[in-house]
């Protein structure tokens, strides 16, 4: 090969490189969009899980809102106080106050109290059981207990107790809504942790018929409503419904005369009175993630 050819090739490629480099440099100067450097720094301080519980589309969206002053650092449900303070200090804003929101299960019918009316031998997920007649419990509204919620929880916040009920660890729960979507019986609700009055039942059966299917069912007797403020509790379709509106006074007195214990005053974790070391029933865990 002649030296001339090599030089020519080098000159052509080098020239092209310079020309395009110049174009990019010019474009960068003319079309540059300025971004607040604090956004990237704030993203680094956030957990980076993109859970969406703050209401923004991922952590970056939240960081943009934080920098713009549209959100408060406490709006992130995943980090502890120290990290919230770190974000607040970096941005020089108030950390703000956010009431912790967590997932609550509206069923207390574990295998110890709910009537078992048949063996379920199909696919071991709640969704499958619900599609095939509702699983082993006689109550058609109750928790199936095959741990779909525990499987979808990314934060290891849900564990099944020995009666087949999912127990939400309030410290770990980020209110991300995944369990609400996964539960085929719609038993999970996301609510502030400081609303302790909870009706742990969704059965629309009334009276003795309700108690027959589950010992802790709400029978719709209305005693809780009588013992509380007139607006606080109403009985709708055989079920006590608590009014969580602001300014309505609720007290633990409503739970005192409940014949079945369906209405409970819960300040932190659910099912603490029955809970032993938690475990996941055999078959409830998925057989590894199969790559599709």
């Amino acid at each position: 090969m002649e030296l001339d050819t090599i030089l020519k090739a080098g000159a052509v490629l080098g020239g092209l490189g310079f020309a395009f480099g110049g174009l990019i440099a010019a474009a960068n100067r003319r079309l540059k969009v300025w971004e607040d450097p604090r956004i990237n720094a704030t993203v680094d301080l956030l957990p980076g899980t993109n859970c969406g519980a703050c209401g923004s589309p991922g952590c970056r969206g939240f960081a943009e809102r934080l920098v713009a002053g549209e959100a408060e650092p406490a709006g992130c449900t995943q980090v502890d106080e120290e990290q919230v303070t770190a974000v607040a200090e970096y941005l020089g804003v108030d950390a703000g106050e956010a009431v912790k929101r967590i997932a609550r299960l509206l069923c207390a019918g574990g295998t110890d109290v709910a009537k078992h009316h048949g063996d379920y031998t199909g696919a071991k997920t709640c969704a499958s059981a619900a599609a095939a007649g509702g699983g082993a419990k006689a109550c058609s509204w109750g928790c199936i207990g095959l741990a779909d919620c525990a499987v979808v929880c990314d934060y290891d916040a849900i564990h099944m107790n020995q009666f087949g009920l999912p127990v939400v660890d309030p410290a770990k729960c980020t209110a991300c809504n995944d369990c609400v979507v996964a539960c085929p019986k719609d038993l999970f609700v996301i609510m502030p942790v400081d609303q302790p009055l909870l009706v742990q039942c969704k059965s629309l059966m009334e009276g003795e018929a309700a108690e027959e299917t589950c010992k802790v069912a709400c029978t719709g007797c209305g005693k809780c409503a009588m013992d509380s403020d007139p607006d606080a509790i109403s009985i709708i379709d055989g079920l006590a419904v608590v009014n969580y509106d602001q300014g309505v006074h609720v007290s633990p007195k409503a739970t005192e005369r409940c014949p079945t214990g369906a209405i409970k005053w819960i300040e932190w974790e659910q099912f603490t009175d029955t809970q032993l070391p938690s475990f996941t029933p055999k078959g409830a865990e998925h057989k590894g993630a199969i790559k599709v």
Binding site: H117, G122, A123, A130, A131, V181
Partner: protein, 453 residues
């Protein structure tokens, strides 16, 4: 697995399976009427569509055939008391779907002769089309093949629809069941009269009755009475053919039946109506004929009570609302080793957990399986053998769909793998050597998409 094209001798579809038929238990047994039980429970939702609205109060006396609940809309049918008695309670009661749903409980009057009130019997030939459709809705007729879709809705196609074929589904491809078989053998005139009424009402020129070849006596019975209708058919330029079909599950699925009989394939997302075809179950048209023969609404239906877990397998004429336990008592009870009760056929029917569950309009049979036939088999990983692909009658990919379902990628299943085409026939689960409950996973995925979609 699937047969090659030249291996078929009769009209057919492609794919499907052929499970042991097990119809010999009841195929030869005449239908017997069971005595009225002590209580009947009429669920308000026995059909696809809005539930009926009760119009009786607790304590009301009702005669057999009286209206007890009005239709809750156009896609809904009224409910009638299937026995004379007193309304005991309107409450939630176990439903064959597995849920507790609102129902009317009627304590049956043991001393009553169960004779319905005298009523005028309309002559269907003198009725206009809207009157006829109204009469069918008032009769509470739904598809008796299992889906329980209100029949009058099928009788009212949208304006401008041209119907070419009216197909009667006498396939009964589910193993064990002999309900439609016995109706065709014992009441061929009712079946043909019902078909004629529908053909006249919808102005369809060709009626096809598709019967699987494992029911030769049904084909003969229908063909024997067909000449009686020849004159009227000829007068209106109509034709009715009885056609034997390849024995293959799910031959009785609407789209498979249309494909076999007319060689037309219902496209994705379309209805048979778009092809000018309407399909009805033989039991449904027989009950339409019964309305215009006796004036009575749909009060009872033929149910095959069978399986090796029942002492006396029978074809029973059951009042709507009779409880499972009463039906079993009439059939000699269940054997000591009875393990599982399936309502409907074993391929698609849901299992039942409560003997208080009433028989509703859409229940074609009750199969009681003994412990030896119910095996809870261990599930293995998919080995990608492709048997499910061969068996699937709608040509979707159960193997891929199964993996996606296990990974909860429901949206991908619907968008890229045509989950909506799946009718949950269960062929894929039946052939799967790894015992993966594919059909159940698809049912759950569909339920998820309905809930969150």
């Amino acid at each position: 697995m699937a047969l090659k094209h030249h291996e078929y001798s009769s009209p057919h579809f492609l794919g499907g399976v052929h499970p042991p038929e097990s119809k010999e238990l009841t195929a030869h047994l005449p239908v017997r009427r069971m005595p009225f039980p002590d209580e009947v429970v009429i669920p308000l939702s026995q059909h696809i569509g809005a539930p009926a609205k009760p119009i009786v109060k607790v304590g009301d006396h009702v005669e057999r055939g009286d209206l007890i609940a009005e239709a809750g809309g156009f896609v809904s049918v009224p409910m009638h008391a299937s026995a004379t008695g007193t309304v005991k309670e309107i409450t939630r009661w176990p439903h064959p779907s597995g849920n507790l749903t609102p129902a009317i409980r009627i304590a049956v009057d043991k001393h009553s002769a169960q004779v319905p009130r005298a009523r005028t019997i309309p002559d269907w030939r003198g009725l206009s089309k809207p009157e006829l459709i109204q009469a069918v809705q008032d009769g509470g007729v739904v598809g008796l093949g299992g889906a329980a879709f209100p029949t009058h809705v099928k009788l009212s196609p949208p304006e401008g629809t041209v119907l070419e074929y009216l197909i009667l589904n006498g396939c009964e491809c589910e193993p064990y069941l002999t309900t439609d078989h016995r109706i065709m053998v014992e009441q061929p005139r009712r079946v043909l009269t019902g078909l004629l009424i529908m053909m006249r009402a919808l102005d369809v020129k060709v009626g096809l009755i598709g019967v699987e070849n494992n029911k030769p006596d049904a084909i003969v019975a229908l063909q024997e009475v067909l000449p009686e209708y020849e004159a009227e058919l000829k007068e209106h330029g109509m034709r009715i053919d009885v056609i034997g079909l390849t024995v293959r599950y799910p031959q009785g699925a609407e789209k498979m039946l249309i494909l076999a009989l007319t060689e037309r394939e219902v496209p994705r997302g379309k209805l048979p109506l778009d092809l000018g075809v309407l399909v009805q179950n033989v039991g449904s048209v027989a009950s339409i004929a019964e309305i215009f023969e006796t004036g009575l609404p749909l009060l009872e239906r033929v149910v095959t009570v069978t399986g090796h877990g029942i002492r006396k397998p029978s074809n029973v004429l059951v009042p709507i609302g009779a409880k499972l336990k009463d039906v079993f008592e009439f059939c000699g009870g269940v054997t000591m080793d009875a393990r599982q009760i399936v309502m409907g056929g074993p391929m698609m029917g849901p299992s039942q957990a409560n003997l208080e569950t009433p028989i509703i309009k859409g229940i074609t049979g009750i199969v009681v399986l003994p412990a030896g036939e119910v095996k809870s088999q261990e599930e293995y990983d998919c080995i990608r053998c492709g048997h499910c692909l061969d068996a699937c009658p709608v040509f979707i990919n159960p193997q891929r769909l199964g993996l996606l379902a296990k990974n909860m990628r429901y949206e991908t299943m619907q968008e890229d793998y045509a989950l909506n085409d799946c009718m949950l026939c269960g062929c894929c689960s039946y052939v799967c050597p790894s015992n993966i409950p594919l059909s159940q996973l698809f049912g759950a995925s569909k339920a998820y998409l309905r809930r969150n979609g």
